[in-house]
């Protein structure tokens, strides 16, 4: 398929300095058409500046960026026709009702009065806001506001959607709602560039990841590739009979499979953990247990978390894990 090879966003050597601060210090990245690229990085890494450059809100100092075929510097007007932007702060008019906001956006996008009305109704329905349609947005909950924001970004069915930390500050349930919406947008054919500080969010939504720190790209690739680069998977096996756990661990350890580090039986959880580096090892371990006559109730593999990935790449902790460490220490103290 040719469309897989087409890039909806191409960024080369993008630089933006604010005085001494190098918000972007030569960023390269690609987003393939119809996919989600997660741009992952701690606070102050340059994620928001990147999004603002790509959506023509600020001009880069150097470098090039092309979005949906339009150059951000040379063709900003055309570019604005094909993008949608949802920033960290709700970009809707809080004094206007949900419906009025969407109708206004429709008119600004040159829809006729009738089409703008229909589109506003349609989007409210789709984002489950019909009941709140007439209330001013300032009375909306955080999740509703964010949904309205996404709806506003989707009015013009943009080819490329920029989501700058779309779930920051939302509770887990609302966050899941936003994730579902993003998945639907992608299913409808949109290309999404999503910035996030949350490893879980990138894992949930993105097929590819670019990790940035202090304005530079420090890693990129498919989510699973990145994880595999950092460390292998762990195979989790739940035996039919928990009493067999020690015997299973011994059997795997004694088999002397090539490159296998060993196996650990965790009796509390009723699970056998086997770190593996390849699919062959996985097959070999499962095959061995089958040949020896052990009953297996459940098998799963666990990839290292993206927090661990970030730590491995930068040698530094991310802000979110620092905070949770601090909380853990405070709780311990």
């Amino acid at each position: 398929m040719t469309r897989i090879d087409k890039n909806a966003v191409e960024v080369r050597g993008l630089v933006k300095h604010y005085g001494e601060t190098k918000a972007l210090d030569g960023v390269d990245l690609d987003v393939r058409e119809g996919t989600v690229l997660g741009v992952l990085g701690p606070n102050g890494a340059g994620k928001t500046t990147l999004v603002r450059c790509l959506s023509t809100l600020v001009s880069p100092d150097a470098g090039h960026a092309v979005v949906a075929g339009y150059d951000v510097l040379r063709q900003p007007r055309q570019l604005r026709r094909v993008i949608g932007l949802t920033g960290q702060y709700a970009s809707v008019d809080e004094k206007l009702s949900g419906w009025e906001n969407l109708y206004m956006i429709g008119r600004l996008l040159d829809l006729s009065r009738k089409d703008a009305r229909l589109r506003a109704d349609e989007m409210l329905e789709r984002f489950s806001l019909t009941e709140a349609a007439k209330r001013p947005a300032m009375q909306y909950s955080g999740g509703m506001r964010r949904r309205l924001d996404l709806a506003a970004s989707m009015i013009g069915s943009p080819a490329v959607l920029f989501l700058d930390e779309p779930t920051t500050g939302l509770d887990p349930r609302t966050r899941n709602e936003v994730w579902d919406e993003v998945r639907r947008m992608v299913a409808d054919g949109a290309t999404v560039l999503l910035t996030t500080q949350y490893m879980e969010e990138a894992e949930q939504l993105a097929s590819e990841l670019t990790v940035i720190d202090r304005g530079r790209v420090i890693a990129n690739g498919r989510v699973d590739e990145l994880k595999a680069k950092v460390g292998g998977r762990t195979l989790q096996i739940r035996p039919s009979d928990p009493a067999q756990l020690p015997a299973m661990a011994a059997a795997v350890a004694d088999a002397g499979l090539d490159g296998l580090a060993g196996a650990q039986a965790v009796l509390d959880e009723g699970l056998l953990y086997v770190p593996i580096l390849s699919d062959e090892q996985l097959t070999a371990v499962v095959g061995l247990l089958g040949v020896r006559g052990f009953g297996i109730a459940h098998i799963g593999t666990h990839l290292p978390s993206l927090d661990e990935v970030f730590l491995a790449i930068t040698g530094e902790k991310t802000l979110s894990s620092e905070i949770s460490d601090t909380i853990a220490e405070e709780v311990a103290a």
Partner: protein, 275 residues
């Protein structure tokens, strides 16, 4: 990696390409005017200045200073002096609100949305001005209503009254660009208000709005003579009461043209660059 070639990009946008047509521009401004009007509907208190200020000022000036300026029991004559003056002042006070409004807007994400949309960036500002002109007309209507209650008489014709109103609106609209520029430059809405008051007070009181400058010291008279608010007040006064209008009308229009020519491009440029 894909085969999209990236040619060396000039730093400037290509002229003409993807330009917003006039009809689309008018439609966008219309949608944004509607937005500002809906904001007022949602927050009626924002009309207090336009509705209450003319009432309070008229009562205060006519009854507190009227007697002193025109002689006791002679407030009637002062009504015809001060109401046209207050028309000039109203425009300035309403224009001030546009600065704080623009400043507030920029604190909110909605400005990012407008700026990332395919609309002329000036349309956001023009819509604001259109709505403020509407507010000015409301304020002027209240002011004239108060004036008629207190005995204001039009010695000329409705046509000249309309000309006086039109002149105040044109001048007020030109002042809005100054306040928009201030609103885009200052950090907070409070700071905008502070600076605006500092400029407004001497301009308003050092003019012929409230009292004839003939009793003022010479140095102040030369200030009031060149104060555009004096020109506007004199023009409105003579349009309503009869008298020579040509000089003051042309002076006022000249000021409005110069102020707009200088500050409007600066404000739009500032608006474009603001991040």
């Amino acid at each position: 990696m894909s085969a999209v070639t990236i040619t060396a990009a000039p730093a400037k946008a290509l002229p003409g390409e993807g330009r917003i047509g006039l009809r689309a521009n008018v439609r966008h401004i219309g949608a944004l005017v509607r937005r500002n009007a809906l904001q007022i509907k949602q927050d009626p208190e924002s009309m207090f200045d336009a509705v209450l200020m003319p009432i309070v000022f008229t009562l205060l000036f006519v009854y507190v200073f009227g007697g002193a300026i025109s002689g006791k029991g002679n407030q009637q004559a002062y009504v015809n002096y001060v109401i046209p003056g207050l028309m000039a002042m109203m425009g300035m006070n309403i224009a001030m609100a546009v600065g704080t409004g623009v400043n507030d807007d920029f604190k909110k994400g909605v400005m990012d949305r407008f700026r990332s949309m395919p609309i002329a960036r000036s349309s956001v500002l023009i819509a604001k001005i259109v709505v403020e002109i509407g507010r000015m007309l409301v304020a002027t209507a209240v002011l004239l209503g108060m004036g008629f209650l207190l005995g204001l008489q039009i010695h000329t014709s409705v046509l000249e009254l309309a000309a006086a109103i039109g002149l105040s609106v044109v001048f007020g609209a030109s002042l809005m660009w100054i306040f928009i520029l201030l609103g885009l430059t200052m950090k907070t809405a409070q700071a905008v208000q502070g600076v605006a008051m500092l400029v407004l007070m001497p301009l308003q009181f050092g003019s012929s709005i409230f009292a004839p400058p003939t009793t003022m010291p010479g140095w102040l008279q030369s200030f009031t003579d060149y104060n555009p608010l004096s020109n506007l007040a004199d023009a409105a006064r003579n349009l309503i009461n009869g008298g020579p209008v040509a000089d003051s009308v042309w002076m006022t229009l000249g000021w409005a043209a110069v102020i707009t020519a200088v500050t409007a491009p600066l404000a739009v440029a500032k608006f474009r660059k603001k991040t």
